[in-house]
Symmetry: C2
Subunit: 342 residues, 2 copies
DNA sequence: GCCAGCTCCGAAAACCTTTTCCGCCCGGGA
DNA sequence: TCCCGGGCGGAAAAGGTTTTCGGAGCTGGC
């Protein structure tokens, strides 16, 4: 059933088992399996045959021990449950998987103790590097000293200037969003944001304000800060329509807020996008495509951010360390909730 | 700056470095650090001091090599992007994290080749066990033979009867949902499901049908199969109201479908929950709490499922293997969209 | 026939830790 | 003073792999 390799519990075949079966030394078996020179093709074939027969799988622990590199990295998230860690994680996993690197996943659940604990374990396992994924774009404390492997911070930058961090360009994103609305011919643009305590919210607002000002336009009303929820979107939109009924576009702090805004607009009989254009943030696929009309949104390219972080970590491992904060461009994904004024 | 341990690139301190600094042999150093007997307390203190000074961290690779177990497990998902893998993964990570087990995360992206590749890598890294997380509750092929570590299948059961699988009890969930609606005094209950190709959809329907029959009730209309989207929910609800306006409760295949149903009910002037109760499935927090009214939903307890899978894997590693399919109970989370008829 | 040179293979060290077993030294008792 | 025992520390092996270096065997040329 389980093939000639024997069933579960049988000790895994080792290189010297293979060598014995092939009638050669371990050294020769190693060279044969690794494609080294100075092995006769007949011998090589015999070794390969023996290895296949025993379903030999080289022990990476031994290889790593000898090589001084484990071919593993640690991915340390502070909040897996959040929506932003996952795509980053996927991008990183993707980039590493291609390069034969295995990934240790650790979730600190926002707890510093737990984080130290995980870091300690990873160091002990001799990971070649570490990616630290934050749960918001606010700067976070650097890892404790004594971690002498390369570290790349993703999403949340490190507070220490000497570290390398990869973050989305939220200022540019705010600018981009406004530019899209302007391109749609809108000029009375309001901004319903999310939680003011998040730098992501403030940065987007700053970018948007900059773009408006450059276009010589005044924002409609104050920027409305609140929470990242549909409920807030509904409430803030109601207030907005009461105070500034002339509004012809609403930029929202997140897709959820935008959903709430859409709800209120529909209740008040405003057509989207004909009367009012609505734009979200984060491009959360199911939310953005589930709404009526589908939601134009800004995508932070988080998967690409994860891939970039992974590549940066590769470089750092290969002794080409970088430092500072690198920002990644966002992109506007256009759907039905924004359209040119006719 | 980086402390006495030396900066990045300096070879990590080894046990013999510690021994040398403490003026003892490696054997003694090992015993001292591991709390073994036959070490004088003065000696032990000296060793501990030396270890701290060098910020010594034992090399897990060497330990694993010697011990014959690595203290690592593989978590193999077929679809990380899906909504169901993540909670399972978190539960498992949680259960393992408590022990001293590290988790390798691999995403096969639904590709069998990629999956084999990952399994091969994990075997080579000598993981002590494997959890395979499927993307739907439909049975999936077992891992290839030749994997001689324990494997637990989560969410999607293995097709091979000898394997151990942990899956949510969707039949029971369907039953539970109906029982809740009955308890609310509803008797004209329709079911708008998701994609018929998913056993999750069919199982929930079967459970719901059984509960209705036991209550001596006829379902309102046929079960409507479609897709797992808001759009489908809106469309199906429209049809339902046209054909069976007497309906007083709608059980939906997912929270997204339920959102769509809520939309249509609102458009048609039906009050929820006064006129019609609506119930979702999956208890997707942001979706369920973002809607108006908030959505009663069935939670599959996926995090608990992940924890259970992890514990089962522990048992299997400790030579207490189990087999067959174990189902996990679901639970109803009651919110505003269902309430007793007044 | 002998030697040079090339091809192929094997012995051994290295990576780092744990554990077993042995030996040393010191104190106490005869 | 001698012996014994107990307490403490050290040498060495084991775990599996890679690499280096040396050596064996064979062929071809003189």
């Amino acid at each position: 059933m389980a093939g000639p390799a024997g069933s579960r519990g049988a000790r895994a075949a080792t290189l010297s088992d293979v060598a014995k079966l092939a009638g050669v030394s371990v050294a020769t078996a190693s060279k044969a399996l690794n494609g080294r020179d100075h092995v006769h093709s007949r011998t090589r074939a015999r070794v390969l045959e023996a290895a296949a027969q025993l379903s030999f799988s080289p022990n990476s622990l031994a290889q790593s021990l000898l090589a001084g590199r484990s071919g593993t990295v640690g991915l340390l998230t502070s909040d897996l449950v959040g929506r932003f860690s996952l795509p980053i994680l996927m991008g990183a996993e993707d980039a590493f998987g291609a390069g034969q690197v295995s990934v240790f996943l650790c979730d600190a659940r926002g707890d510093a103790i737990r984080e130290r604990h995980h870091v300690q374990a990873l160091v002990s396992r001799r990971v070649d590097g570490l990616i630290v994924v934050g749960s918001s774009t606010d700067p976070r404390p650097a890892l404790a000293d004594g971690v002498d492997v390369p570290v790349v911070y993703a999403y949340a930058p490190s507070e220490a200037a000497g570290d390398l961090s990869i973050v989305p360009d939220n200022i540019g994103a705010g600018r981009m969003a406004i530019e899209h609305l302007l391109a749609c011919g809108r000029s009375r643009i309001a901004h319903i944001s999310g939680d003011r305590d998040y730098s992501a919210a403030r940065d987007r607002v700053a970018g948007a304000a900059g773009a408006l000002e450059e276009a010589g336009l005044e924002p409609v009303g104050e920027v409305a800060y609140g929470t990242w929820t549909e409920g807030w979107g509904r409430a803030a939109a109601g207030l907005l329509l009461d105070r500034s009924p002339e509004v012809d576009a609403v930029l929202c702090g997140s897709d959820q807020v935008a959903r709430g805004v859409l709800d209120t607009l529909r209740d008040r009989g405003r057509r989207v996008p004909e009367d009012v254009a609505v734009m979200g943030f984060d491009n959360w696929e199911v939310v953005a495509t589930g709404s009526r009309p589908q939601l134009t949104s800004v995508d932070m390219n988080l998967e690409e951010l994860g891939r970039t972080a992974a590549r940066a970590l590769f470089d750092a491992i290969d002794d080409e360390p970088a430092r500072g904060v690198r920002t990644m461009d966002c992109r506007v994904v256009i759907r039905g909730s924004t359209a040119p004024l006719s």
